[in-house]
């Protein structure tokens, strides 16, 4: 079934009787060519591109809970391609280009909204760093603009320009950046994968890997053994737990909790995405009216999917310092997600020493914006055993060999990335 305004009108007139399930609930088969472990954004996108772009078949996605229940179900929905390093920027720009055509391609309105993202700077040194980064983006084919204070003030007059501890001097603007409706992205990929024949199997937890002589044969699950030629793992914060079952428990990854926040619904307040350069705070407003915002990770290893008060206060403080007019809005809900924080802040899309086992991980807390490109690149790697050209740097051995991709220059301490 194709979605369109006409279709919605027709269904309206006929009592909505014609709507079909967005996806089937298939029973797992005994064997697949490809098993994707993890029915989050990256896993679903991988299955989607494997089936639709790389024309593979006999594909299943195994999800321990419900589709989209991981970090794609809870995040601050920001999309952007304004990275600095050559290992990253072309990849994220590739992702941005996929975002730009995504909805038409998978026939689902994921509310991709290129409303612009501004990264604020507060010192001359930060301006220099953003100039370097903006230039890197332009050189990779992305867009970037450097706004000085007055131009910025015209655009977002509600920032604290006059009474700030760290005065706003300007910002790096990417007009093509913005937001997307996170659940819509998961559902769009899920529906598109299902329509291409992918089995989306929910409530199916992987409990072990069957490996013989260094070759992967299949996975044990809560719904029985499933054989496979190739298995791709895309489980974000659960990476270490799942990979430990394949004997790869030691990875350059730590799991940390990131809290995110949404306010009560408000009439239009913040037109674009804004990130604070002198505190931990980034914000946009959802189409429903809630201010969606976040800050830093709590900072300690955690699988608890909930955080603590100090970070909540710190984020609110950052928000109040930057835009004191949000104070009388109320925080409606907060939640904690588990981030696969890598040792250099950049992801891994690579084969593993186990033949047939592939890993997609280490997205830290920036995985949402990468969803399309991550899925595409992982699908290409699974289908062809050749990395996508924009993801060639995301190798597992880069740490040992000294080719880290460290955007922040923070070194091998995951909670600083």
């Amino acid at each position: 079934m194709r979605f369109s305004a006409l279709r919605v009108i027709r269904e309206t007139l006929t009592g909505h009787k014609g709507w079909r399930p967005l996806w089937r609930n298939p029973e797992p088969q005994a064997f697949y060519d490809y098993l994707i472990v993890g029915g989050g954004g990256h896993g679903l996108a991988t299955a989607y591109y494997l089936a639709n772009t790389f024309k593979q078949s006999r594909i299943a996605v195994l999800e321990k809970g419900w589709l989209g229940s991981g970090n794609i179900g809870r995040n601050t929905t920001i999309i952007r391609s304004n990275y600095l390093l050559p290992g990253n920027e072309p990849f994220y720009e590739f992702s941005m280009k996929l975002w730009e055509n995504l909805e038409q391609e998978f026939n689902f309105n994921a509310m991709v909204s290129q409303r612009g993202i501004v990264n604020l700077f507060h010192t001359d040194g930060q301006r220099d760093a953003y100039r370097r980064r903006g230039n890197a983006a332009i050189l990779a084919g992305a867009d970037a603009e450097l706004l000085e204070r007055d131009a910025l003030r015209g655009m977002v007059p509600f920032l604290n320009f006059d009474n700030a501890r760290f005065p706003v001097k300007g910002g790096l603007l990417q007009r093509r950046g913005g937001t997307a409706r996170h659940d819509g992205v998961a559902w769009g990929y899920a529906r598109g994968a299902d329509r291409a024949g992918v089995d989306l199997i929910q409530n199916c937890e992987v409990t072990g890997f069957r490996i013989e002589n260094g070759h992967l044969k299949g996975v044990e699950t809560s719904r029985g053994y499933i054989g496979a030629n190739k298995v791709g793992v895309a489980v974000a914060g659960s990476t270490s737990r799942v990979m430990a079952q394949a004997g790869m428990g030691q990875l350059p990854i730590e799991s940390h909790v990131l809290q995110a926040f949404v306010s009560e619904g408000l009439k239009p307040t913040i037109p674009n995405v804004i990130t604070f350069g002198a505190g931990h705070f980034y914000v946009s407003q959802s189409d429903k009216g809630g201010l969606v915002f976040g800050g830093d990770i709590d900072g300690y290893n955690s699988y608890a999917q909930r955080g603590n008060l100090p970070v909540i206060e710190d984020v609110a403080e950052g928000g109040m310092a930057l835009m004191p007019m949000i104070g009388r809005a109320r925080l409606l809900r907060l939640w904690g997600g588990i981030m696969d924080m890598s040792m250099d802040g950049s992801p891994i899309i690579d084969r593993t020493p186990i033949e047939g086992l592939y890993l997609n991980a280490g997205w830290c807390y920036g995985g949402f914006k990468a969803t399309p490109a991550s899925g595409y690149a992982f699908a290409q790697l699974l289908a062809t055993d050749r990395p996508h050209e924009t993801a060639a740097a995301y190798r597992l051995d880069r740490f040992a060999r000294g080719y880290v991709i460290d955007e922040k220059g923070a070194g091998a301490q995951p909670n600083l990335h």
Partner: protein
């Protein structure tokens, strides 16, 4: 309409304004009860269809009656009228309607209601692509949202504090009061918090007696006893909104929200309460029974109707009907009758039910429809095959009660379905230290609540070694509800489950049809439970409806956990304490006061405020000041406050060994009385921080760090001392704030310092480049002097105890007038170091290596030091980018930091990128703009012309690659 009785103070009248019209109420009223007293039933509009709405509830779960409270900068959107305590001159207005609440043009959405079903927006608005940002989204955004922010800074003050207790009691209803009384009498430190302004909880809303007296008398007696118990703290108007780790709870006290203007008080206070034990006694929330058109103003929860009558002495109508599936509805009927409200009928879905008083019961019947555009006029009752319309101005619906288990599941424990009670009860896995009592635990009769609260208190206090005993509790009602489940009235038309977000039974059905069946998919597809009431009145009902569709039981269909906050919390109180310039501490350098008097412009450097440059009379542009300071330093002598550099005092027999392991270059060979430049690597082999290491004595060193890394380097040194090499005899202390330190640089530096030292020989022979010493200055002031240079000039850094810093700065400038002594700020400091080719933060950004900085050979292979092994990884060694100097071919062109470097004629893209410019400035010495940058194969490209691309500012500048040492490359000046 106002009834008799109630807990309001009729001796005083409060005037208030709603939507521009003036009304009267009394102390004790909420905005909601006062509006009802004035026969105002229409209070809001729903989110999607803009349906006219009135109150459903009397408490914090209210989804409909949201208003903008107050005006101007204090305007606060989405305030629940039920939670707004009435004060004189209160102003409120309805929201999300245009032009008025009675006539809302957006109600046109009703016409399209059939179109706007669950998830419709995912299926359309996709074509043409560009229309989303330009047309669809702006229209949706304008229509969506609820209230408006004022867009002005919040003018009120907020406070934060910590509290500690043995027992935190959340909720001061029957269970909470009994628990607090038990615990406080037992000598425990107790905090009793309740979101209401009166203690008593549900007791205030009921007509039950305790020991044959009104419950209010028992409450008054308990409160009077509380006043005599110093170990109990009562926090009224306080919502415990979140359960965090290790017994920490977040709570917001609305300190002065019940006044028009907080005056000198904070508006709200954020309490972080650390409790050894916590009792959740938060009561329960009544649930609705959806039927066709069940959302008209006047249709409320039965318990709310009763609360308004008993506590606030108001009724939404003279003639009221009840719809119930349990005995609670009859209780409402009796209470209303007692207060003179006419009962049109009690419609009971159970068969064979008889009236408990003088009212008509229609048993085995359901309410199947309603009429009344802006307020209920009549309901349709269906019994068997026949229907009847009954006129009434209000309807109370009682579908049973859901325990308020929210805090109990904040640690992700899942509420458990209890079939006999037909509710979710608290999870088995509670947050550590929590116990649940009263209606929140499913023990909702007054008797059960009192007993469970007291018993639970005894039990948990016993766990922490406090012996409490059960108090004598008053006799109270203990009647079972006799509920027979009825989750919704089946029908073809819309029956609302989530009122604010307009989620109906049909939406749940559609969600099921489209396979969005798991609870989380249901919520997300329909927006169920995403409104400001967080699904308090809706979620369980929706789950039951979904269970009906799937044919599975409710327990199998699932549950949902709750996340903080329990009710929405203002962002101001979470983050409002440190606003504006108080966002972060402001550290001032020792000479700040003097610098201020000298016209300094200050700049934020981390937490520090440093003098950026000093404006002399006649200077109108910062470059004039900076160029003057640079030239004066190179020609005469300049003085700069460099106190912000981190300083660590290192002492002990093994200090030399310790430092040798920390720095990548050799430190053991450093002689007493000498200083050495030191480079620290991170353990991953990247360059991290640089500074100087001065050996003041055999076992005494002072090392400096960069300003930015002062904290982290010290942390790392302690890590190395305690964790890596605890066997070494070495002690550390940070002395950054203890010593004021000044750079005295320039050809006249020695002459100037000679005027303050107490008989110390500063001659080049006696005190060579890189020497250091303890000495005294200015007639007995102890000081340290280091002959080190960041500027490339003959230079010293002199340190004195911090409290003398301001005076020393003034003294040096005064004594050096004839020598051209000039204070300089961070800008000139930057120019001087770029001219000399010294790396600073832009070069030491955590992404570079010793090799890139031209210091690869400093990394000693003869010893083990932090980062040495990893610095030899293939990828690091393969990086040929090294630090070079850059100078424009055309001297009038700028060198711009952040530009990327390319070979001349090369296409400019990521693949051909050869490096970037880290630092740039105008150099008075060179007479043009200059820069430092990392360039591929830079060491071999001296003299080559390259291109600096700055596409973000449409610039391409031809640069010549030169030595990074623009000034005195041989180092003669600093050794002079």
């Amino acid at each position: 309409m106002r009834l008799s009785g109630g807990l309001i103070d009729r001796s005083r009248t409060l005037r208030f304004i709603f939507d521009g019209k003036s009304y009267a109420g009394h102390p004790g009223d909420t905005l909601a009860s006062a509006l009802l007293a004035n026969d105002v039933l229409l209070m809001g509009r729903s989110f999607k269809y803009h349906r006219p709405r009135g109150l459903i509830a009397a408490g914090s779960e209210e989804p409909n009656a949201l208003v903008e409270l107050r005006s101007g900068a204090r305007r606060e959107p989405n305030t629940r009228a039920t939670m707004a305590e009435l004060f004189d001159a209160l102003e409120a207005q309805s929201q999300n309607r245009w032009p008025s609440l009675r006539f809302d043009a957006m109600a046109v959405n009703e016409l399209f209601a059939n179109f706007l079903t669950a998830g419709f927006y995912y299926k359309t608005f996709m074509w043409p692509r560009a229309f989303w940002e330009k047309l669809y989204e702006p229209a949706i955004r304008r229509a969506a949202g609820l209230g408006r922010l004022s867009m002005e800074a919040d003018p009120d003050a907020y406070d934060k504090g910590f509290l500690h207790c043995d027992l935190l009691v959340v909720g001061a209803g029957a269970a909470g009061l009994a628990a607090a009384l038990t615990a406080a009498r037992g000598g425990a430190q107790v905090i009793l918090a309740d979101e209401d302004y009166h203690l008593g909880g549900r007791l205030l809303a009921e007509s039950h007696s305790l020991d044959d007296r009104p419950a209010t008398e028992w409450i008054a007696a308990v409160v009077a006893e509380f006043a005599c118990l110093p170990n109990l703290r009562i926090l009224p108007r306080t919502t415990v909104f979140g359960a965090f780790d290790h017994g920490v709870y977040g709570a917001v006290e609305r300190v002065s929200d019940y006044r028009a203007n907080p005056g000198i008080c904070p508006r709200q206070t954020l309490w972080r309460i650390t409790a050894k034990r916590t009792m959740l006694a938060a009561g329960a929330t009544e649930r609705h029974i959806p039927f066709m058109d069940n959302d008209r103003p006047g249709i409320m929860l039965g318990g709310a109707l009763r609360a308004y009558a008993n506590r606030w002495a108001v009724s939404p109508a003279k003639r009221v009907a009840i719809f119930t599936n349990n005995d609670d509805g009859h209780r409402t009927a009796l209470d209303l009758l007692a207060r003179g409200v006419e009962i049109a009928a009690v419609v009971d879905s159970r068969a064979g039910v008889e009236a408990k008083g003088q009212y008509r019961v229609i048993s085995d019947a359901i309410v199947s429809g309603s009429k009344g555009r802006l307020g209920l006029r009549s309901i349709e009752v269906t019994r068997g095959g026949s229907t009847e319309w009954i006129a009434c101005g209000a309807l109370g619906v009682s579908g049973g009660w859901n325990p308020n288990v929210h805090l109990a599941s904040h640690h992700r424990g899942r509420p458990v379905w209890n079939d006999s009670q037909q509710t979710f009860v608290p999870p088995a896995e509670l947050p550590a230290g929590m116990i649940v009592a009263g209606a929140a635990a499913g023990r909702g009769t007054t008797h059960a609540a009192l007993v469970s609260g007291a018993e639970a208190a005894v039990r948990v206090l016993n766990e922490i070694g406090i012996a409490a005993t059960l108090p004598e509790l008053p006799a109270a009602e203990d009647a079972p509800a006799n509920l027979s489940p009825l989750w919704h009235v089946p029908g073809k038309h819309r029956a609302w489950i989530d009122f604010q977000n307009d989620v109906t039974v049909k939406d749940v059905k559609l969600s099921h049809q489209e396979n969005m069946r798991s609870v989380e998919h249901l919520k997300r597809w329909t927006t169920l439970g995403m409104a400001t009431d967080q699904g308090k009145t809706a979620n369980v009902t929706a789950l039951a409806v979904m269970a009906e569709m799937t044919g599975k039981g409710i327990a199998e269909t699932g549950t949902t956990i709750f996340r903080p906050p329990y009710t929405p919390v203002s962002i101001s109180v979470l983050g409002g304490g440190n606003t504006g310039t108080h966002f972060r501490p402001r550290r001032l350098t020792p000479s700040h006061q003097w610098a201020t008097s000298q016209g300094a412009v200050f700049v934020e450097v981390g937490q520090w405020m440093r003098a950026q440059y000093f404006v002399r009379p006649g200077e109108t542009h910062w470059r004039q000041s900076v160029d003057r300071e640079v030239v004066a330093t190179r020609k005469g002598v300049g003085i700069c406050d460099v106190t912000t550099l981190g300083k660590v005092d290192v002492q002990g027999a093994d200090a030399a060994e310790f430092l040798d392991r920390l720095y990548c270059n050799a430190m053991k060979s450093l002689k007493t009385g000498m200083v050495r430049y030191g480079l620290m690597l991170r353990e991953d082999g990247q360059a991290w921080d640089d500074g100087t290491c001065a050996r003041l004595g055999e076992t005494h060193y002072v090392v400096t760090t960069t300003t930015a890394n002062a904290g982290t380097v010290y942390r790392h040194m302690e890590f190395a001392r305690q964790c890596l090499w605890p066997e070494l005899d070495v002690q550390l202390i940070s002395t950054t704030d203890a010593w004021a330190q000044f750079s005295v640089a320039g050809p006249n530096a020695r002459k100037l310092l000679e005027r303050i030292v107490d008989g110390f020989d500063l001659s080049n022979e006696a005190f060579r480049f890189m020497a250091c010493a303890n000495l005294s200055v200015c007639g007995g002031l102890r000081a340290r002097v280091f002959r080190i240079s960041f500027s490339g000039e003959l230079a010293y850094e002199i340190a004195v105890p911090a409290r003398y810093g301001n005076a020393l700065m003034a003294r040096l400038v005064e004594l050096g007038q004839d020598l051209g002594a000039t204070p300089y700020g961070t800008e000139a400091l930057g120019v001087l170091r770029i001219e000399k080719g010294h790396a600073a933060g832009n070069e030491l950004n955590g992404q570079t290596t010793a090799q890139m900085l031209g210091m690869g050979r400093m990394v000693s292979a003869k010893k083990d030091s932090v980062g040495a092994v990893m610095s030899r990884r293939e990828g690091l060694l393969a990086n040929t980018r090294v630090l070079v100097g850059l100078q424009p071919v055309d001297a009038s062109e700028p060198v711009v930091a952040g530009s990327h470097l390319f070979a001349e004629g090369a296409t400019q893209e990521t693949a051909t990128d050869q490096g970037w410019i880290t630092s740039a400035c105008f150099s008075p010495h060179v007479g043009s703009s200059i820069g430092l940058g990392f360039l591929a194969d830079g060491a071999a490209r001296q003299g080559e012309v390259i291109v600096a691309a700055n596409p973000i500012q449409d610039q391409n500048v031809r640069l010549r690659v030169v030595s990074a040492h623009f000034v005195d490359p041989e180092g003669e000046r600093l050794r002079a």
